[in-house]
Symmetry: C2
Subunit: 357 residues, 2 copies
DNA sequence: CTTCGTTGCTAAATCGGGTTAGCGCCCGTT
DNA sequence: AACGGGCGCTAACCCGATTTAGCAACGAAG
């Protein structure tokens, strides 16, 4: 049915030369190896006419490479949050002529083993181990066969691999600064974790770092967190419950929600209590989930730079791959990607305060 | 640095036999070809001890296969809606020991060409061409080299390739039936498209088919669509605007929104007009986007079965791949995947009506 | 004592490309 | 005419696994 693939032999035959000669011409080493103009032209013409494309599998067999990167995640590939991460990785890879294998472990160590094996069997040139949420992971043994970059994850124990992470501490500072800049100094409450550094789920790096950033920025301005409510899970329903619980005892002037889904629940709770955003209560959040722009008023939030994270991971992986094998393992650097503020309409100066200026 | 891969030659050497002998034993053809028990045991032992794994690239070179499927989409890979589609495809592929190459064309024909070429160069055994939204697409020429399945897309012109699609007509019927079953017969309005079949964006298969289903089911019950508002884009803001526009002239008893984002806007508009869901107005929708469960009250919606679509596409692709090449092109079947209703709390009997029973 | 048949394994070729060493030819020189 | 030296190309081998054809050794039959 489908016509057989055009091989180098076909081109050589059409040009009336031997296979190696055609190979030399096509790999641009013809000049250097004194192939005549005439032969060069014949080969190029034949290759063009036959639409010759080298078989990467064959090259891969010889060189042990595949121009392919493996992207293994717990659930990030299918997380609605982080498709952009794949997109960034995809585009960065494409820029260098690489393709991406996608795999998901669903947190299952055995599945992860099989997947890494399957990728290894296919001679991937590098691996990205990604996590849906920024967290610490156990680095699987025996993956040192090819360069590895961690994405949105930090290794448990000593840092043996380079990692790419969102700059969560800075994000926390930015969120706090949004409120400070609007004039807020009192009645700032946290929804999700806190108020102390101990009230944080231990495996969530993001939660801890955001909190650190918030406390730093507020502290520098001489402002204290007025209080906090933790959420069992960072979903709207728990954000709703936590905020309701808060509103039963106090009247906050501003909320820092630890993600946008929590913020969505917080909006619902504020509505239940007849409080307006941002007139009565300002709200800032994290992630820039699509709903942040759909909520009314639009939610000001510090964005997770998924696209950039994906790109950066691939970029770092390429530098690892290019690195001289002798000095491998030297740099298990942590790369932080900035988290930008998306200003919308959920923050205003505290009610009863003059606008500063 | 990293220890060289264990090859068949290593195993053969360790077992004290030739390469082909080891190969025969490991491929299970030892019995048939009268390899002695002794040799068989030695080879198996050596393979086990050395942790031998055949190099798929090498096998691929010989057989022209790669145990790999290419998943090419316009933007589905990174669409937050459809990660589950990839997940379904991934798992179905994994069940047969296949991996997935992911690629995105972003609707760019040239990019698509390059991507298909890159996949072809890597000897993919089959291709899935996916679309983010159900729509008609131009099938790129020259992809007949390997089996192809269309996912969430139908070819422009004659059906030359098998396609997997959500059963949108049935979904339309189901949405209508939800309202009919609740006792609604009057004041049913559409938000998104309609009321006539001409008021539908031409490239959107989903819009048209949903509308057809709705009109069928209502028609069979002797019920007419009371009216409709189209949306420029199926986003919350346009759903909000369209619903507001509607509410300025009439008081609907029920809304069928053409997707959940429109429904979110509709909720906002209803709230603006002091109308309660579902007491005053029932709302049904399509897609089962995550926000459907986050909205208050929970939105009853007919789900896009992304996971099943992905699985089904791979399943169909495998049957294509297994098919005798002689009869290829025979079946350009369209496979419809059912869309299940997710009942939540946005539908109630019409106000002032008795509950039937 | 030859011949045939069986058993148990391996040599050689294959896939498609890349690399290296070296062959033959032509030219100029002595 | 013999020799040296560049030029232009190709033979041969490599990667790793598989397949086919066939070799060697042995036993049994004639």
């Amino acid at each position: 049915m489908s016509p057989r693939r055009v091989t180098l032999a076909d081109v050589a035959k059409a040009a009336g030369v031997s296979r190696p000669t055609a190979s030399l011409v096509l790999s641009g080493r013809g000049r250097e190896l004194r192939i005549s103009q005439d032969v060069e032209q014949r080969v190029l013409k034949a290759a063009d006419e036959l639409q010759y494309r080298p078989n990467i599998v064959s090259v891969g067999l010889r060189t042990g490479t595949s121009r392919t990167i493996g992207f293994v995640s717990d659930t990030v590939a299918t997380s609605r949050l982080a498709g952009d991460m794949i997109k960034g990785a995809l585009e960065a890879a494409r820029d260098r002529g690489f393709m991406l294998f996608i795999g998901e472990t669903e947190g299952d160590a055995e599945l992860e083993r099989l997947l890494l094996q399957a990728m290894h069997d296919r001679q991937v040139d590098g691996l990205i181990l990604a996590s849906m949420f920024t967290r610490t992971i156990k680095v699987p043994k025996g993956i040192t066969a090819s360069p590895v970059v961690l994405l949105n994850a930090v290794p448990k124990g000593p840092a043996v691999l380079p990692a790419v992470l969102p700059h969560e501490v800075e994000a926390g500072r930015l969120a706090a600064r949004v409120l400070l800049d609007a004039g807020h100094r009192d009645g700032i409450y946290l929804i999700g974790v806190g108020p102390g550094l101990r009230n944080v789920p231990s495996e969530s790096v993001a939660a801890l770092e955001r909190l650190v950033g918030i406390r730093e920025a507020l502290g520098e301005a001489g402002v204290k967190v007025a209080g906090a409510r933790t959420c069992f899970d960072w979903q709207p329903e728990y954000g709703l419950a936590a905020t309701r619980d808060l509103l039963e005892t106090v009247r906050p002037r501003a909320l820092i929600c630890f993600n946008d889904r929590i913020a969505m629940g917080a909006y619902q709770a504020l509505d239940d209590f007849g409080l307006k955003v941002p007139a009565d209560v300002s709200v800032v959040s994290f992630d820039d989930h699509p709903i942040a722009s759909w909520m009314r008023p639009g939610l000001t939030t510090v964005a997770l730079p998924h696209y950039e994270l994906g790109r950066k991971a691939v970029d770092v992986l390429f530098t690892e791959m290019d690195r001289d094998p002798a000095e491998l393992g030297a740099a298990a650097e942590v790369h932080r990607v900035p988290m930008p503020v998306r200003s919308r309409d959920s923050v205003a100066p505290p009610s009863g305060a003059h606008s500063p200026g």
